[in-house]
């Protein structure tokens, strides 16, 4: 039973992103700003850094593919970005100490990296023609604030869950 809990958690956050965008009333925030939830990315990062690194990368790969197929219909972008960013983060953590504050800062940096990467790719294949300054003001800063709030709320519970998972892996 416990084996299935982790995939279920990921599926939950996968669905939560879409639910969040759907229920978020546009008037609450100024509707000119675009808030993009990157909860799944953050959970994958915590899995990679606190749980099992290779499994984290595999989760990144699988859910990146799922994200592409279900939400964007352009396969490749998230399939590539999720594992790559998780890998970069795991390399960074070799140098830094794994303190929860440091991990949170790294997660925010990774969200910025993901936003930039996805923006550049979408710009390249003509999905968007938004220029860079507009992208910064309209998308990136609101997105950072939203995901920072998510990290502040969920960082500690996520850390606990994945650390428990890591110890259970070691015991087996």
């Amino acid at each position: 039973m416990r084996k299935y809990l982790l995939p279920l958690l990921f599926i939950l956050f996968f669905i939560l992103e879409s639910l969040f965008v759907q229920t978020l009333p546009a008037e609450v925030f100024n509707s000119e700003r675009i808030l993009a939830p990157r909860f799944l990315m953050i959970v994958i990062l915590f899995m990679t850094l606190y749980g099992h690194r290779d499994q984290g990368l595999v989760y990144g790969l699988v859910f990146g593919l799922l994200f592409d197929v279900v939400y964007t219909e352009i396969i490749g972008i998230y399939l590539f970005m999720f594992p790559l960013i998780a890998y970069i983060a795991s390399k960074l953590m070799r140098i830094l100490q794994s303190n929860i504050v440091v991990v949170s800062v790294i997660s925010i940096l990774c969200v910025v990296l993901l936003e930039l990467g996805v923006y550049e790719m979408n710009y390249l294949i003509n999905i968007t023609n938004m220029d860079f300054s507009l992208f910064l003001n309209q998308r990136l800063f609101p997105t950072i604030v939203l995901n920072l709030a998510f990290i502040i709320i969920f960082a500690y519970p996520l850390k606990r869950i994945f650390e428990k998972y890591a110890t259970s892996l070691r015991e087996d």
């Binding site: 669905i15 965008v21 759907q22 229920t23 964007t72 219909e73 352009i74 590539f80 968007t128 023609n129």
Partner: protein, 294 residues
């Protein structure tokens, strides 16, 4: 130098970039239908989303009800003032409908471009990265939904078209998405009606761009824009929005009108997929005919 190429990670990165480009290329081309594994994945997640979205819509429904209660009084006042005119309007509509039917019978013209049958659907998901502006609804091929059908919001304004269908779910592309194939043939209503196509969305001003209007067309503010039904798939007369202003295009041969969409693209719970009743001619037939004419 050979050591450089023996680096395992570098080779892995290069191979994955090649795969990335190939996959993006594969999914960007014009696709009639998604591949079977994709359809299966979308249906499977659609099932989960369906389960989750029911309590979610219930809870948001409660909050919306409370919000509605707050301004009931002022709304009621305004509605009462409009009610007087309504009775006359209703009888007028009734009479016109009857007359229209009679005239149609005289002309022996049965099918019209504006006839359609609606399919009700609930939104169960939305693209979270906000680049593509896609919605997922809980009706699919089994309910008779086909690619490129028009999608209308609950207040009757057009919001987009069906991008792809699976067995039990389908994906809608909103008008706000930047996609060169996302075009709608539209008509500006007035004493003289003008035709153009809706292509593109101005993100900064939040207005739709209605292009290819003749340069001598006199368009006023607040004229209504509806679908013209000439595009082949959308029925005639679905409202799109109102004209805000016009400006000549870059070469001065045409005009571009900016249209304020009547639908809200952010708060969408229920939609209606519109199936045109009139038969759509087969593309292959049209091509053959053209050759004969030439």
């Amino acid at each position: 130098m050979p050591q450089f190429f023996l680096n395992k990670r570098l080779i892995l990165l290069l191979v994955s970039i090649i795969i990335l480009v190939a996959l993006i290329g594969f999914s960007l081309r014009e696709r009639e239908e998604l591949t079977v594994p994709e359809q299966f994945l979308k249906d499977a997640t659609g099932w989960i989303q369906n389960v989750v979205s029911r309590p979610q819509s219930y809870v948001t429904g409660i909050f919306e009800n409370i919000k509605d209660l707050q301004n009931t009084y002022s709304e009621n006042k305004e509605l009462k003032s409009r009610l007087d005119g309504l009775a006359k309007l209703e009888s007028d509509v009734q009479q016109l409908k009857k007359e229209n039917n009679e005239l149609r019978e005289i002309l022996d013209k049965k099918d019209s471009l504006s006839a359609y049958s609606p399919i009700q659907a609930t939104v169960i998901g939305r693209n979270p990265d906000r680049w593509h502006e896609l919605l997922i609804i809980n009706k699919g091929k089994t309910n008779g939904i086909e690619q490129n059908m028009a999608v209308v919001s609950s207040n009757g304004f057009i919001i987009g078209k069906v991008k792809s269908t699976q067995q039990f779910t389908s994906t809608i592309q909103l008008l706000t998405a930047m996609d060169p194939t996302n075009r709608i043939s539209a008509e500006i209503q007035g004493t003289d009606s003008y035709f153009g196509t809706i292509e593109g969305y101005d993100v900064e001003r939040e207005l739709l761009e209605l292009k290819r209007i003749p340069y001598d067309a006199k368009i006023e503010k607040d004229q209504t824009v509806v679908t013209s039904g000439l595009g082949g798939i959308f029925p005639k007369g679905l409202p799109i929005g109102k004209v805000v202003d016009t400006e000549p295009d870059e070469f001065g041969l045409n005009q571009t009108a900016y249209v304020k969409p009547g639908a809200n693209f952010y708060d969408i719970q229920n939609v209606m997929v519109v199936k045109r009743d009139m038969m759509q001619p087969d593309l292959s037939d049209m091509v053959d005919d053209e050759e004969e004419e030439l």
